[in-house]
Symmetry: C2
Subunit: 629 residues, 2 copies
């Protein structure tokens, strides 16, 4: 029996990594928000690797934080280890990565949701949406609760018609043997959404007491305290190490000998897997000549002996998994506590979405996270945040917020999804961004705090601190650009001692800093700043000056991009009325409905010739529009 259960501004279906951010973002903007989830004990659950961050993903977490999201704060409260990756390389590829206490992570996020004033967290399985006039008006749960709302965000992860596969075994299930979401998937299909079938997988977990760590290499956390959130001031100093070991020819032999029992190769799994999170059987088959693959042993938390065997993701039968594990140095005697498995699920082809993550088909309905064809907690959280922002703003009668590809990795991610769609689980990589040098770990706040503040997710206090930091950076840059360092003896000696070539003449401090051997600390030795500058300010000054040339070049490119982005295309433009477009281009444009010439030019199959035609057509000013009926 159905009953009216309440009215909200925003309803979020799901409290995974996307749902948690979406719910908090909506509520914190002032929207009365309901978050529904299948099982309250599994809020922000990590079904796979117990870690947050890494290349590109770590930068997304910083961006989420700069926009006022929660993931960074939550992992800062619950990590067991924190490391900055690629410290030896340029600033564009540096990224923070944390090992999580995965249970603490869940509990902390759940508590945050429970304590958020405008947010109601309720256990419930949504089975259908309330749709009137192609507009979403609410949801209906399995228990008959009809919740009404102005906007709805679906963040159902891998639950839609989920099926777990393990060797010859296949059964209907959500991740980690949770209840799958079947009716909602059928409902989306009935509404006319195009769904694809994707799959992902997870490795076995072993009991840490049965690992011989002496045969592995220790991977400790960083000694310097680090945090994802710009607001974190307390650091966890008691870190746990991870451990590195490798597969070998015996591992690979076992896999080769049992490929016929692999659901991936036997044809049992038809769904498409993530290219960048391959299973071990995939790796062995694809990289035949690689003698070994890395295996990281990662604790699942402080209060458990379960250890995640990163690198051994597999859907081979359980007996083969036992065998595989025992071939790995350190794991000869390891007890497997749970086997790895693959999961198949329905995703929405994401070019059915606007860049706000609203669906084109149903107004006021948004989707975010793994349902949009991505893979990864951070990708999910980034989308969840943006969907929460936009669904909240729609409900509150405000305009939309779209990040561009030059603003953030989150912009790249969403633009890729809605413009290109995806025919395999999409993972964010640094190589997907054309302005990598701009989208850095260190400057996420510089790029995004302004927006976060504008939409009300960054507090005034934090914003003022941010402005002060920005001012200090500017002032110090200007100081270094204005001071001429003379070739005095002490300067020459310092330069010599660093292996540089002596000054012939006076040089701007900023130009001296550009020399590879010079750091800000050296410059400050010669011309100390009168105000005290903290590390974050110094880091910015240093990077901005040292990489000035590259950054300038990127910014010029961004300028050109912005011009193209400013050439807007009305969403109801009638492409059939434009002469000369190639058939494929016309088709793609009609599917994607790009909002700007910039976006149109990124659609595969839309060529420069088509873009020129489109530009000319738009400039004429007389635009044919598709009627709304």
């Amino acid at each position: 029996m159905q009953y009216e259960a309440g009215n909200y501004d925003v309803i979020v279906i799901g409290a995974g990594h996307a749902g948690a951010e979406a719910g908090l973002a909506a509520a914190r903007q002032g929207a009365k928000t309901l978050v529904l989830t299948i099982n309250l004990d599994m809020v922000a659950f990590m079904p796979c690797n117990p870690s947050i961050g890494g290349p590109a993903k770590g930068i997304v977490v910083r961006e989420i934080d700069a926009l006022g999201g929660e993931m960074g704060k939550n992992i800062d409260k619950t990590y067991i280890q924190m490391r900055m990756l690629n410290t030896g390389k340029g600033p564009a590829v540096r990224a923070l990565r944390a090992q999580a206490d995965k249970f603490a992570y869940q509990h902390e996020m759940k508590k945050t949701l429970e304590n958020e004033p405008n947010l109601t967290l309720v256990q419930g399985m949504v089975e259908s949406l309330i749709i009137e006039d192609d507009t979403c008006k609410g949801v209906i749960t399995k228990t008959g609760a009809m919740y009404y709302s102005k906007t709805v965000i679906i963040t159902t992860g891998t639950f839609l018609r989920g099926e777990i596969i393990l060797g010859e075994l296949k059964y209907s299930s959500g991740p980690n043997n949770q209840q799958p979401s079947i009716k909602l998937s059928e409902h989306l299909e009935e509404l006319g959404f195009e769904l694809v079938r994707f799959k992902t997988g997870t490795p076995p977990r072993v009991n840490g007491n049965t690992i011989d760590y002496s045969k592995t290499e220790i991977q400790p956390g960083d000694e310097n305290p680090r945090a994802f959130s710009y607001e974190t001031t307390k650091y966890i100093t008691d870190q746990l190490p991870c451990w590195l070991t490798y597969t070998n020819e015996f591992t690979h032999q076992i896999i080769d000998a049992n490929l016929h029992r692999s659901p991936m190769y036997s044809g049992m799994i038809k769904a498409t897997g993530a290219r960048y999170c391959p299973s071990i059987e995939d790796k062995v088959v694809r990289f035949k000549d690689k003698p070994r693959h890395q295996i990281f042993l990662e604790p699942e938390g402080r209060n458990t002996e379960e250890v995640y065997v990163q690198g051994l993701s597999t859907s081979l039968p359980e007996d083969i998994q036992h065998q595989l594990i025992r071939t790995v140095p350190g794991l000869e005697q390891a007890q497997m506590m749970r086997p790895g498995y693959a999961i198949e699920y329905d995703a929405i082809v994401p070019n059915q979405l606007w860049p706000t993550l609203e669906t084109k088909k149903i107004k006021n309905l948004y989707t975010a996270g793994q349902i949009n064809g991505t893979s990864g907690y951070e990708e999910a959280a980034g989308q969840g945040l943006m969907a929460g922002i936009n669904a909240g703003r729609r409900a509150l009668g405000k305009d939309e917020i779209i990040l561009s590809r030059s603003d953030a990795y989150i912009g790249v991610l969403i633009d890729d999804l809605v413009t290109k769609g995806t025919n395999e689980p999409y993972r964010l990589l640094t190589s997907r961004a054309e302005y990598r040098l701009l989208l850095r770990h260190d400057n996420a706040d510089m790029r995004l705090t302004e927006i976060g503040h504008k939409i009300g997710l960054i507090s005034e206090e934090r914003y003022q601190k941010f402005l002060a930091k920005k001012e200090k950076i500017e002032a110090e840059r200007e100081r270094l650009q204005s001071i001429i360092i003379k070739p005095k003896q002490e300067v020459q000696e310092l330069i010599k001692s660093l292996g540089g070539s002596e000054l012939k003449d006076g040089i701007k401090a900023s130009d001296l800093l550009k020399r590879p051997e010079m750091s800000y600390a050296h410059i400050a030795q010669i011309i100390p700043s009168e105000v005290e500058l903290d590390d974050e300010v110094i880091e910015q000054v240093e990077i901005q000056i040292k990489y000035e040339g590259y950054i300038e070049k990127s910014l010029q490119q961004v300028e050109r991009l912005k011009k193209m982005e400013n050439k807007k295309i009305p969403i109801d433009i009638d492409y059939d009325a434009i002469n000369g477009l190639a058939t494929e281009a016309r088709q793609k444009l009609k599917t994607v409905h790009p909002l700007s010439i910039a976006q149109a030019s990124r659609i595969s199959g839309v060529n420069p010739a088509d873009i020129s035609i489109l530009l000319v057509y738009l400039e004429q000013g007389k635009i044919a529009r598709v009627s709304n009926e």
Copy 2:
């Protein structure tokens, strides 16, 4: 595909409250033990009230601890509040009750299992048993793993063909929406076990931030530190309060008006519920004239805002649950985070078991916990411990351990189950024990440490401490029995000040202590002990002396019982060969197979006349036996 996955002494199916104790007891006795559970994230999960202990149940926890079990230690590490109940009443009804941090409780127990040397904890769903010649030889899981063992213990709780019921909704599920265990139940049926369908229920949880506590009464924890385990030395001082409120006529009106939608009354639930854990609809219907019922608001943990609404257990539809909650003072604005529900499941009729908890039908197969028709964590844990002890001992070639009704509540519980069966979920109550004054909270160690030590579950160190304590008690009792207190002035004054009548003559210190106004502290004021005695020793001395008369009487009854217990009945006795037994008695005796005349006399339907005939028959010495074919 099936594969051989390993050989063990003992396999435990399930890691709930029964399974955890069973696994640890077996492993700690030296048996190589495998514990299999459906979901490793749910070890020792509390699907209902977040608390351990209370009348009778609390004493069971003490008994478990005295025998070397884990429940007491685990709750001592994870409680949020501890209270001694009935402190104003006699020692027989005193009992400790703790509110648990239910997540910490799970994690702590899981870690203990993970770190137990002889124990392997593995995620796996058992679908069938390996049976040869009516003997259990192992188990087979869903993934095809065949584990062999000498003995197997089934502790599957409410998972066997579990179905969740909530208003008009009914679906296949384990507790808390976990996977149900369907195949194993079918398998047990095929093996010829008689199963019954029972049900239990749980109340809704609400968000603590939405409770107006000012309308409720605070229930703080005890200020004195207390613990369940005799080994605990560290106490948690930071306690959280619970809160008391009540239902009222409005609550009851809503229930009355919606009884037709209650699955209990609409006929949807056919299974039998626990009389002593009634749902609120039950209470309202059964106690029509009661104007209100107690509602305790209990936090589910330290790191969550979820609050358990004890007293509002229900399977009414979700919409009615929302309404019910809002009638309760303090809950007018409360957000329901999850609804209450009922669960139906299969249990084994427990008279199919020997008092060791081995099944009569299949050798080396044991069952323990809710599967045996009980309800409650403590009842489950007590059985789990005994099954673990006996299955372990069988595997190691040792004799069995059976607690008698005068040893422990656990003895009462198991004897009731195997002797009387049960046609509703069985809950332990103090009224079920005939020797209540012997089975006290305070003396569990006196009763059981000897056994715990004998079977290897109590360390030598702890045993020596126990012996020292016992000695001190004896010595002090003897001292008080030997010293005559003279009617000196200071004595008379003390007595007068306590409102007692003055001594006429000298009196034994122990006799003076028996006076109701006197406590041990008063006696010690007159004749201080030379050795220092800790509170536990003093408590024993005081209770043993003050209640000497009653205890003596109980002990005499126990003597008589022991005599009857020593009159053993061979398990293969042929009751058909005994003339004169009433038909019902003959039938019952053939079903229950009592091991002693004492047990036989407790079977309902076996009358004193039948017992006399049986006694005469046994004394003749020529006993007809059923052939083994």
